[in-house]
């Protein structure tokens, strides 16, 4: 009985918990409630993933008993079941860490409201992943974004620059969401439906009409803005660097990834590979912007001294790799993007949670702050180091698996030059990770610098994600299989089927060498 309502429950749980968190009279209650709600959502999403992996048939949930295309449906298929645990899992672990981070950074009076916004942003993201209705995506997108703007602005207690950062994020985020709605309006005019599955069927009859191209352009542009694809990435670095640490960890790990997922859903699930202009125009654009983003983000991170902003810039680069994966326009490319989406969520979650341990103790979090910190707070700094190594794509970390499949997908499509450039740009990440190593371990701590401390309760959450990064780096088989399963939702083709087998053989070979 309960089982059949799981798709809706994992959205409803955080959504319903939010007003109660806002009303909590004691600040600890708000946190406990948030923890229970996020743990519940995480458990449900794991259950859904297990069900999908076992049966392989999508779960369709009709809201209010109205079947599609009249009613709104929630669809749990291999793709959404793959992304859900990423969002809710990071949400759960970030909530664990939020306890000490929020006490350190947010005024006690604001805790109930903070956690209410936190739950809403999570509910919005889970909703975007689950829903099978294009307009419903917009509503959830705005739920998660609006509470996201409020969360970013809460950094103002320590750093007033959070306010203009949140305002710019609001302006650009709203423009992006409105572009999405314009595109959707055009699609609705052409087809008379908003159900994603129904749209893709009906769009086939009108795909040579100009409004369909314009709709594609508007929707893609709106989502590029939301996922911070170069050159529409300017809102990201200020928002992430001035937000409270817990918020940065949650949003850097999940918010842009959900937009990438929505982009995949719309581009390949609705328009499809066969849509005119898809391969050349959209694919070419994704490859070009992805590559440029990878370089611009990496170079910006290399010259950056503020640590939060450094890793925010590296997020631009990592999102560029996901765009490259989509731009290849094969299932193998989409699968590579799914793998990187998963891995990047783990790495960035770990990095920003570890940075939070330091940020909670100092006002400015820069390379200077961590001079010689390797000996004072070894567990935190090691977590940052391992997260950084995963960003570069060092073997035995999950980042290596991402890069391996991305470069393989590029080579299989004959895109040798792009594969080479991708390799070079990810190797360049070594420069900024080395800067951190040099400051933390090979520099003496200045005599007058404040003493940094750490307790297991502070670094444990970051380490859970670091260990997951290493775990999936060594034992990547299930992850790769699930990602290829997710990509298969958007049109299985022959290249993809053989790749899964070869891919798994590579992984087994690697495990054999261990």
């Amino acid at each position: 009985m309960m089982m059949q309502h799981l798709p809706i429950l994992q959205v409803i749980l955080p959504l319903l918990a939010a007003p109660f968190a806002a009303l909590a009279s004691r600040r600890h209650w708000a946190w406990h409630l948030t923890l229970v709600a996020t743990a519940g959502a995480f458990a449900i999403s794991l259950l859904l993933l297990a069900t999908i992996l076992r049966t392989g048939t999508p779960i369709i949930y009709d809201l209010g008993g109205w079947p599609a295309p009249i009613g709104i449906v929630y669809v749990i298929d291999s793709a959404s079941a793959f992304v859900l645990p990423v969002v809710s899992g990071i949400g759960f672990i970030a909530t664990l860490a939020a306890r000490h981070l929020v006490i350190a950074e947010i005024d006690a009076r604001d805790h109930p409201l903070f956690f209410a916004a936190w739950l809403l942003t999570l509910a919005g993201m889970l909703g975007q992943v689950t829903t099978g209705d294009a307009f419903n995506i917009f509503v959830f997108l705005e739920i998660s974004s609006l509470s996201g703007y409020a969360l970013v602005a809460m950094g103002a207690g320590r750093d007033r620059r959070a306010l203009p950062a949140a305002f710019n994020y609001l302006i650009l985020g709203t423009v992006g969401a409105t572009f999405y709605v314009i595109g959707l309006g055009l699609l609705y005019m052409l087809t008379g439906t908003l159900n994603l599955a129904d749209l893709s069927v009906r769009l086939a009859d009108v795909e040579n009409l100009r409004p369909a191209y314009v709709a594609l352009a508007f929707i893609a542009l709106g989502l590029f803005l939301k996922m911070a694809l170069f050159p529409l990435h300017l809102w990201l670095a200020p928002a992430y660097s001035h937000a409270p640490s817990a918020v940065t960890a949650l949003m850097a790990a999940t918010a842009t990834k959900v937009s990438v997922y929505v982009l995949i859903r719309i581009l390949f699930g609705v328009f499809g590979f066969e849509f005119p202009y898809m391969t050349q125009a959209v694919g070419g654009l994704l490859l070009t912007l992805g590559l440029l983003g990878a370089f611009v983000g990496t170079f910006a991170a290399i010259v950056e001294t503020d640590l939060k902003r450094l890793f925010a810039q590296s997020s631009i680069a990592q999102l560029g790799y996901m765009a490259i994966g989509l731009g290849i326009m094969t299932s193998a490319g989409i699968a590579a993007s799914f793998i990187h989406l998963f891995n990047h969520a783990l790495m960035k979650g770990a990095l920003f949670l570890a940075l939070g341990v330091i940020a909670a103790q100092t006002t400015h979090l820069s390379l200077h702050t961590i001079k010689g910190a390797g000996r004072q707070i070894p567990m935190t700094m090691t977590a940052i180091l391992l997260g950084g190594l995963a960003l570069i794509g060092v073997p035995l970390t999950a980042g290596f698996i991402s890069k391996l499949y991305l470069i393989r997908a590029l080579i299989d499509s004959g895109l040798w030059a792009i594969a080479a450039v991708t390799f070079v740009s990810s190797a360049l990440a070594l420069v900024y990770v080395w800067k951190i190593v040099e400051h933390a371990w090979f520099t003496e701590r200045p005599e007058n610098a404040p003493v940094l401390t750490e307790t297991p309760g502070q670094w444990a959450q970051a380490w859970i994600l670091v260990l997951a990064t290493i775990g999936f780096g060594i034992y990547a088989g299930p992850l790769v299989e699930a990602a290829f399963g997710a990509a298969q939702v958007f049109g299985p083709d022959i290249i993809q089927a053989t790749q899964t087998i070869e891919g798994l053989q590579i992984i087994e070979g690697l495990e054999g060498q261990e």
Binding site: R161, F167, I182, G185, H364, S366
Partner: protein, 131 residues
Amino acid sequence: MSEIAAHWNYYLVIILMMLGFYAVIARGNMVKKMVGLNIFQTSVFMLYISVGKINGGTAPILTGDPASVYSNPLPHVLILTAIVVGVATTAVGYALIIRIYESYGTIEDDELAVLIDSDEDACERANTEPA
């Protein structure tokens, strides 16, 4: 000319949309940016609503008369939701503007940029010469 007359609603929407979008991008005053954003969003609302209208159509109420022509209610309902979203966005936006004015004393983009730069410089100094 008749082409334009037949699609006058689209031209109206496009003009409004570009006016709003221009204000969002080109205005330095944050309140004006928000006004532009509202105009931009409203143009999209009008796009949806005008599409649902059918010439001679009435409100979509069941009358029992199968020949009755009625407007498509779905875009209207969608836009009701979008209006709620727009109101919430506007509220959050103005709340942020008030807070920005309280802490910086200005809501002009260029003056704010100078103040943010000086914040950054203060950070730099605090980092290079710790107290």
